[in-house]
Symmetry: none
Subunit: 397 residues, 2 copies
């Protein structure tokens, strides 16, 4: 019986037929071999027909049902950006934007400033107002995360980002803690504007990055880590910050991989090597690739199929040689024809040399419909995986 | 429409391929005929991937979810041993052990004393200490059950059995009722040691059975019996004490069968005759054989397959002639390759001459993956069975 697991998530993997799906179009002898030698099925990462977000789906796949554990996108992004959070911290997704002197939004992304400029501007944006500490970390291009720390704060507030054209919103609390938080946030936003609007790095900019817009407020809470909940030492190999954030949230070790960009040019072999390395001292490795989802959002079915073929050729053989149980699936179905997440199930495959087999011969959305796993939901997956390595939870005696 | 049901549980029936499973290896024309003429599927007796104990799985199969009804192994074993329990009684699994004068454990099983010696030693072990009544019943070899009855007792305590080498543990309460119970139990254990250590039956014994170790504390509670909950009169035909205990817990009549030993040499035909007899005045008969599980724990795939063939030849034809709906399954998958319970699903088969049929042709872990029942969980089974005889619960109008 193998004693290690690799959970390999291809983001947005599932698709709709047009007339073939990307999985059906792709050349993928290795994935098909795993399907023949393993057991497959279909999975709703949340519940039947529900459209999963990337955050909630991953939480559910790790066995942390979002209805119980979800604390908003902000803290997950902040964790993914490397921020150290404490219980009670309020975290937001943030981005640099361009506003005029009346705070009408000229560009929500400040002309997509380069990552390096974001780093320059971010220096000096940490401060304390009315006893509330503000810490901003820039991430990629115009993006970043903002964390507020202080007594009596809460995530019950709307952010300042109007999510479209218009003026910067005044943050509004929905409850007592939210009021206090909104008040401090509004003062901070004014302070940031004053600071950025005259920042030398913005001097000649057509679209000066002169304000921060925040959204996705969430109050960080601590959860029982994977190691204690399941008795497995776990690691995450991912490029995208959100996925690293969810992984940190549940207590996984984060493996840094040079070339794992979270985009279409990610270095698959480097990720594969990182997984093999992580398996040396971890029982459970979560591997994530994002590009399948990105191609789907672009409506690029051929690009998605080609990327799957690349994964099949470069990454899958490395994983198959690791000796671990392989579990391969997506976090949701992002249909190229719709260019968005959908509530359709995703195919899922469990390959364990000593485990069960079914009669499925290819890994795609049609074959897996009659697979031996049947139709499962996201929170079934962790117990199923743990059982594969003899670490299933015993109930009774 | 038939109006009677036989639920036939082959303990630990499910298996993993090595490369065939026991069900796939066994010659079993009768079980395969039932599969062809009935409808099959796969079942997680608790939930996907969760490893069922024998107690919790049977409770769930009878429609008493353990998360609501489970009160520990002790009361179930005590009921199985024939003890009359009252609400609030604290019951333990107990065994005779050998200790030195400092209560270091020499042998946790006192050299597996013969059942008869256990009976001799047990005489005089009932007493009252500080108003708490102690009653011990010996069962098989070194095993028995201990029940404490008194005011203010509780099951919130650890027992005295260290489950391995070391000293006899001092029972420790976890709450107020547990403290009181632990205190009385510790006094009783001392009293038992004094009594047994000088017992004439131990006089020349190399490993004197001079103490009782207890574990699996549970407080007995009464539940709505099967007859009232489902409107069926039910009986149990089983050899093993635990299975009789769960059956008594849910209010089934226990049928005594000479030769039903709960081991590999159990008299299958005697059990079959007992089922036919019980069907005369019961609507629902639960039939249990243990040996499939015992062979699995021994890693004996051939023995398991041969035993299944024996069941197929001796028992299944008798049941099929009864006119009742037959439901045949296991309480969990005990894999011969792992020699332990696992969280893999078990095949399940419903045979009703007037009910549904699917395309499954053989009764095993692969064929049933594509069976018409799909993938069910243990608590689905009782409603499914009741519906087969027209006694399904109506909801709405």
């Amino acid at each position: 019986m193998p004693d290690k697991i690799v959970l390999f998530i291809m983001d947005g993997l599932g698709d709709l037929p047009s007339p073939k799906t990307a999985l059906q179009k792709a050349r993928k002898p290795n994935l098909d071999r795993l399907a023949r030698e393993g057991i497959s099925g279909m999975m709703s990462t949340l519940w039947r027909g529900i459209v999963p977000g990337s955050d909630t789906s991953h939480m559910n796949l790790f066995g942390y049902p979002p209805e119980r554990y979800y604390c908003g996108r902000g803290p997950l992004e902040a964790l993914g950006a490397g921020m150290e959070l404490r219980k009670g911290d309020i975290a937001f997704r943030a981005n640099f934007a361009t506003v005029d002197e009346k705070w009408n939004i000229i560009d929500r992304r400040a002309g997509r400033i380069p990552t390096e400029k974001g780093r320059v501007l971010a220096k000096g944006l940490d401060t304390t107002i009315d006893g509330v500490h503000f810490k901003f970390i820039p991430t990629v291009e115009h993006r970043g995360v903002l964390v507020m720390r202080g007594h009596g704060l809460g995530a019950g507030l709307d952010g300042t980002d109007p999510h479209g054209p218009g003026k910067v919103l005044s943050a509004r609390g929905k409850d007592e803690n939210g009021w206090k938080t909104a008040e401090a946030l509004n003062k901070y936003t004014k302070w940031v504007y004053k600071k950025l609007d005259r920042h030398p790095a913005n001097e000649d900019a057509k679209l000066p990055a002169n304000i921060l817009l925040v959204r996705g407020a969430g109050e960080y809470c601590e959860v029982e880590p994977v190691s204690r909940k399941y008795g497995v030492k776990s690691a995450c190999v991912a490029g995208g910050a959100l996925y690293k954030g969810v992984a940190r949230f549940v207590g996984m070790d984060i493996v840094s991989v040079k070339g794992a960009t979270g985009d279409k040019n990610t270095d698959l072999k480097a990720k594969g090597r990182a997984v093999l390395e992580a398996l040396k001292n971890h029982d459970f490795v979560f591997l994530h690739v994002k590009a399948t989802d990105s191609f789907s959002h672009d409506g690029d079915l051929n690009g998605k199929a080609k990327f799957i073929s690349k994964v099949d050729g470069e990454l899958v053989p490395m994983l198959a040689k690791s000796g671990a149980v392989l579990v391969i699936t997506g976090d949701h179905t992002t249909a190229c024809s719709r260019k968005e997440h959908t509530g359709y199930e995703v195919p899922v495959l469990v390959w364990n040399k000593d485990g069960r087999r079914d009669l499925v011969k290819t890994f795609d959305e049609v074959s897996c419909l009659s697979g031996g796993l049947g139709h499962i939901v996201g929170c079934d997956l962790m117990p199923i995986m743990l059982n594969e390595i003899g670490k299933g939870r015993m109930s009774g005696s």
